[in-house]
Symmetry: C2
Subunit: 351 residues, 2 copies
Amino acid sequence: MTVLPVLPVVAETSRTGIMQIDAPYLLFLGDATDQLAAKTADGIARWRADKVLGQFRLPGCRADLGLREVTLEEAAAAGARSLVVGVANRGGIIPPAWVESLSRALSLGLDLAAGLHQRLADLPELAVQAERLGRRLFDVRQPDRSFQVGTGVVRSGRRCLTIGTDCSVGKMFTALAIEKELKARGWKADFRATGQTGILIAGSGVSVDAVIADFISGAAEWLAPANGEDHWDVIEGQGSLSHPSYAGVSLGLLHGAQAQALVLCTEPGRPHMRGLPGRPLPSLGDCIAMNEACARLTCPTARVIGIAANTAAMDGPQARRWLDETAAEFGMPAVDPLRDGAAPLVERMLP
Amino acid sequence: MTVLPVLPVVAETSRTGIMQIDAPYLLFLGDATDQLAAKTADGIARWRADKVLGQFRLPGCRADLGLREVTLEEAAAAGARSLVVGVANRGGIIPPAWVESLSRALSLGLDLAAGLHQRLADLPELAVQAERLGRRLFDVRQPDRSFQVGTGVVRSGRRCLTIGTDCSVGKMFTALAIEKELKARGWKADFRATGQTGILIAGSGVSVDAVIADFISGAAEWLAPANGEDHWDVIEGQGSLSHPSYAGVSLGLLHGAQAQALVLCTEPGRPHMRGLPGRPLPSLGDCIAMNEACARLTCPTARVIGIAANTAAMDGPQARRWLDETAAEFGMPAVDPLRDGAAPLVERMLP
């Protein structure tokens, strides 16, 4: 345990300074094998349409976001600043077929950003060229800076954190929907990204599951710093306190976030915890109790203010019944942000 | 979150293979400014006297473990396999005054092991020499291998984990005392180290706070693997679920450990959480409840079986009264392992 009485310790070497991916983006769909492979690009186009010039596809690409088709040269001429890899393949690698396009984007003046397992910076061809041209390579799966250990010292500002019964239950989507609703109501609000897709959408953030374990809560404190009482940070949660693989990440994030408002995300009907056949999901009630108990270590007023469900597997009436019954059972709003938006959640967050 | 449906992902590059520091050790006390600076060496000498050939001190050294003074040449001739740096200075660096001795140890055939912030391997003089001679440099503060994500799948064997109200309350000491008592009673038992001093004592282990966040519980599962029902792993805890800086590490370790027996370590009278003036320690009752609730995610029978207190700040009668009252309040043994040993704890662990 890195405990020093005076100054918290800084770990990790700083690599590229503070990450901020510049817009406008050209979204690279590569040779995506299906629409789902381009879900990162889809998220960017959905939530940050104003940042996106268009899509760039290679021959054989089977994904289509319905955006304008823009060549690398057209994008550069139109002022694009970054080519964002919005496609993933099995294994998370950068296939040879992409490299010529990525290299040409660099030569045309664009930065590159990706959230794959294989790093752009690990391809010597790209690394050398970027260095020579002064272009930046953003590998958002790895943190690009050092952090201090968290302190738990109470800080100003309003914060919301999406938590989950499990991984991949809509925590990013819900946070983005809440940010959008807050802004629509005239609040200052920032979505704070903690995973690779979220970082590519926001243009900045920290992939908290890739931080050194001692610095999880410190990274969260850095990501959502003290702010005015007229400002909301809406922080993307990760994992679940109930997931045996990732609960440490979830708890550090919960402590570092100091969120007054927690929103519990879930997917009704999921048969088991993601990646762990045979392990059932926790009950919503247990999840609420455990998260509130833990969160209050650093934010004594923390409480779960609503439930966000991914009801894609249900038809409309089924979903409505589940949401209504859940809202009644727990005495708080229960919505599917994709069907309903986040207004009922935001109403419970506001003073 | 690194979630794959089939195979868990391996992160971190493997560096030196599986860490196993070979004995016998020569303990290097350097130019320690006082006895406390050599507390790592003291721990090794206390708990692994059978591994220790003697101590080696530089001129001006103010620490003395009362061991035989052995020169590097004498140690090599006597079969020493490793020179273990058992001294720390402010900043955790390797001062120039040590390098000649460390280098000579390498040339005499010894490996080097240290748990400082500055890595042995980062001193080119030592790194080049070790490479040339085929010697090993153990920097135990950094993990030396890759891990998989935890699974939470129930595994065989008996496990005990020391947990804490705070950092630095005697979790390592207590675990070592329990291991010793188990062995004295004829059980197979292994102390499983999770911090740098513990690793130097055990000769192997994982510095879990230095693991990538996604792999905390996976590292703990690796550290204390499935075993026979006649075998105890006694796992050194880290941090505290109640420490806002490090709780993520503590939770991942708790989930990965799958310990049936938890021992709560504390220091009565400590004014605030370590490194965080103004933040009070949790109550023992809250700590027990929170740890049991979390532990049961991966080990449904987990329970706190006793309390281990560091009562160094109390006189004998004060300590006895505190321990007796605490035992009565919680209905479980409460001991100071340094004063009392760990027998009452072990009696509660055994079937």
